[in-house]
């Protein structure tokens, strides 16, 4: 397997930390492949990617926020709010392209509000987005009266339930978004600004980095990603529930951390985060195949996160 890995030019350029995350995934995958014959089959692996795609979508935005020195606890409720508003528009007969665009704008608006309070208001990201966590959830519940919205148009549902060359469309969508996020982080000035602001905000400011705009951008991207995840999910389910997205923020933070993002800011990787998402997805899928109780799945997730952090600490020197 290592011969295959080193023969790919893409993997030769992979960073040391990402290689470690990948190694973790390979070990976990190998264990499941040995224990369950149905794990290492094409349909099941696509299934893992499909199940990981929602979390990956959220985690892409989360990683950028964490790298810029913040955190976004409000992603789940933002997704719920955009889901019910977008679904309402569709059910009311608005063309679904317009409704989706509207929902994505609402996601960015939520992110803008978070970012404005943090960047201009000088409030702590944890507290602001904790407030957002309640606020956006409440808006979704109030708007719907707590009831799910059914009857989404088939045209819209076909978007997220189809496949492209055998790959489920949610995986394709998230893969494209991941490429965008990777380009932003490693190829554009904005990516350098995320790293600089998270690494040392005062030094970044003195060096002429637009700190306020950088923070705003991070939260707006996070809000946008939350709304994309919401669209994918309601498309698949055919309904929008105001209670959807519970604990999404924690899965996304876990994936980012497993992938090497430092909650102190300034460090993180899109590739690492994606592998982190797949690790979490693999764990759930594999344990389900082995008929392990859901309680133990939760236990395994917790252990993986802590083990990942311990390895991180041990290998990074201090």
């Amino acid at each position: 397997m290592s011969a295959v890995l080193t023969s790919l030019p893409f993997l030769q350029r992979i960073k040391f930390r990402d290689a470690g995350t990948l190694l973790g995934l390979i070990i976990i995958g190998t264990v499941f492949a040995v224990l369950s014959p149905s794990f290492l089959t094409g349909p099941n692996l696509l299934n893992v990617l499909q199940q990981s795609s929602i979390n990956a979508c959220i985690a892409l935005g989360m990683t950028l926020v964490i790298i810029s020195g913040g955190i976004d606890l409000s992603v789940g409720p933002v997704a719920a709010l955009t889901a019910v508003l977008g679904a309402t528009m569709m059910v009311a007969g608005v063309p679904f392209i317009v409704a989706v665009a509207g929902a994505l704008c609402i996601g960015m608006l939520c992110g803008f509000i978070n970012g404005a309070l943090i960047a201009w208001g000088g409030l702590q990201p944890f507290i602001v987005t904790l407030g957002g966590l309640s606020l956006y959830r409440a808006l979704a519940l109030i708007f719907t009266g707590g009831q799910p919205i059914f009857g989404l148009p088939d045209g819209f549902r076909a978007l997220t339930n189809g496949t492209l060359m055998g790959v489920p469309t949610p995986v394709v969508i998230v893969a494209m978004l991941a490429i965008c996020a990777w380009v932003i982080l490693s190829k554009t000035p904005l990516g350098e600004y995320f790293m600089a602001v998270g690494g040392n905000p005062e030094a970044a400011r003195i060096a002429g980095v637009p700190v306020t705009m950088t923070k705003l951008a991070a939260y707006m991207i996070s809000g946008l990603m939350a709304s994309v995840a919401a669209m994918i999910l309601i498309g698949r389910l055919g309904a929008a529930e105001p209670t959807m997205g519970t604990l999404w923020e924690l899965d996304a933070i876990a994936a980012s951390a497993i992938g090497g993002a430092s909650l102190m800011g300034g460090r993180g990787s899109i590739i690492g985060t994606l592998i982190g998402c797949v690790i979490l997805g693999t764990l759930r899928n594999g344990l389900t195949l082995l008929n392990v109780q859901a309680f133990y799945q939760l236990l395994a997730t917790g252990i993986i996160i802590i083990v990942a952090m311990l390895i991180d600490k041990a290998t990074s020197g201090k």
């Binding site: 380009v183 190829k187 554009t188 690494g199 970044a204 300034g266």
Partner: protein, 494 residues
């Protein structure tokens, strides 16, 4: 008489950099003794050794004739030495009594509970002769600085301190509060407590101290009796080192690049103005806290001014760091780790930050171009060849400083604002930084250098401004730049 405290032949080095060369100091019981010297003379290191923060490489410490080993701040306390830092080390939310008993709480119920009542009663007793108006139950952060200082003194007395060292205790006191402190210090001395008093302010030293030890460049220069020794002589002993005779070459033109008018911010900077020409190096001297750093930050737009204007090439520039950078100003900050570098990021990213858009095409950074330019710049600033893709945090202070200078070169900055350009940099790299400043001047750029090291100011400057208490106290032309002249204007009340 057996001295209360004697430090003999103290030696201390940080790496290869020796900061104390066999310094001795003696204090008698009940004596108030000044410890004098310029910034970097070794006063702080002496205090840190006395209070157990550092341990000396060689030398002996005796208290009341007995040899003591002071290996930690706690050991210093047990030996009877208390230190009152310039930045008071207190827990702001806790009460006066709790702060006095911090780490040594009085207990009851077999040691399980803190005996607050007893602590408060004791605190009241300790404070009574010092300042009876202080409420021992009030939180520390509700007190004025002067009162907080009194609380620190009470804490020292609680620990039965025989020697109390005070580092610049009056830097934030009003004259009336200072008078009060003088009374307290005299009262302590009368009770046999010895005081080591560190201050830049000659009038205070002459009013309080009976004697003083003068350090220069980590060496003992003299022990003098006060106030018998004339002020001028004390200052000469403090600053009168041989001038470093490197011929200074001026590249100043008469083209005005920067004009600063009436910049003010609180008490830190008041009505500061000057003109800077292309090719000119302007030194700004003054004591720590005289407003030099604050003035630079106002010019760079890092802090916003309450009044005043900044003009570059005759055009007024708006506020904000980014606006100022676009206008051609760049700050090389004093605290490199805190304000300068992004530690985990490669040298290229640190260099490219202000000009990232310039290195991009269609929104994508051209890494190859950034790397090539970084390498070119590093050659220009004579950085030993190294891998610019490694994190900047893995390089020495001198190399980090060169990278920060490279950052502004990359951004095509015209006016360089250096704050303590050689702080924490070894001697070899220092000379290179001076050469670099000269090179910038030769290329027609304008440079401001804030420095606490007078030889440095004299070495690099065409002209020197001396700041004192937030104001520009004097402007010295090339011929007038001498240590004595600078000191005369920098030190208040002379």
């Amino acid at each position: 008489m057996t001295p209360r405290l004697s430090l003999s032949h103290i030696e201390k080095a940080f790496g290869a950099h020796k900061v104390l060369h066999g310094v001795s100091l003696t204090v008698q019981p009940g004596e108030v003794h000044g410890l004098l010297g310029e910034n970097g003379a070794g006063k702080s290191t002496m205090l840190n050794i006395l209070s157990g923060v550092f341990s000396a490489d060689a030398g002996q410490i005796n208290i009341d004739g007995a040899s003591v080993t002071i290996g930690s701040p706690r050991a210093a306390n047990l030996a009877g030495v208390a230190m009152i830092h310039q930045e008071l080390q207190q827990v702001p939310e806790l009460s006066v009594a709790q702060n006095i008993y911090l780490g040594a709480a009085l207990r009851r119920a077999g040691g399980l509970l803190v005996d607050r009542a007893a602590q408060e009663a004791e605190a009241r007793r300790l404070l009574a002769p010092l300042d009876a108006s202080i409420d021992v139950t009030a939180p520390i952060n509700s007190l004025r600085v002067a009162q907080r200082q009194i609380v620190e003194i009470a804490k020292a007395l609680r620990a039965n301190a025989k020697v109390i060292a005070m580092d610049e205790p009056t830097s934030s006191l009003t004259p009336t509060e200072f008078d009060r402190l003088v009374e307290v210090i005299k009262g302590l001395a009368a009770r046999g407590v010895s005081i080591i008093y560190v201050s830049h302010k000659m009038d205070e030293v002459f009013r309080i101290c009976q004697s003083a030890t003068i350090l220069r460049d980590g060496r003992l220069v003299a022990r003098v009796d006060l106030p018998a020794t004339p002020v001028a002589q004390v200052i000469e002993l403090m600053v009168g080192r041989e001038l470093s005779h490197v011929a200074h070459q001026s590249f100043a033109t008469d083209k005005v690049l920067l004009q600063v008018k009436g910049l003010s911010r609180g008490r830190a900077v008041q009505d500061a103005g000057f003109t800077l020409h292309a090719g000119e190096v302007l030194g700004i001297a003054g004591l720590v806290g005289s407003g030099r750093t604050e003035l630079l930050r106002l010019i760079a737009g890092v802090d916003s001014a309450e009044a005043g204007t900044v003009e570059v090439s005759g055009v007024a520039v708006g506020s904000g760091v980014r606006t100022r950078i676009k206008a051609g100003l760049g700050l090389v900050p004093e605290e490199r780790k805190r304000d300068g570098i992004i530690r985990h990021r490669p040298v290229t990213s640190n260099i490219g930050l202000p000009a990232m858009r310039g290195f991009s095409r269609f929104g994508i950074i051209r890494r190859g171009k950034l790397k090539a330019r970084s390498e070119e710049l590093m050659q220009e600033v004579r950085l030993r060849p190294f891998d610019v893709s490694k994190p900047i945090g893995s390089f020495s202070g001198g190399n980090q400083q060169k990278a920060i200078i490279g950052r502004w070169l990359a951004a095509d900055t015209k006016i360089y604002l250096f704050d303590e350009p050689t702080r924490g940099i070894d001697v070899g790299a220092k000379a290179e930084i001076y050469d670099l400043i000269e090179k910038l001047a030769r290329q027609g750029r304008a440079i401001v250098v804030v420095s606490s090291e007078l030889p440095e100011v004299i070495r690099v400057s065409d002209r020197v401004l001396v700041m004192r208490e937030g104001r520009i106290a004097a402007e010295l032309g090339t011929a007038e730049i001498t240590e004595a002249n600078i000191a005369r204007h920098a030190i208040p009340a002379l």
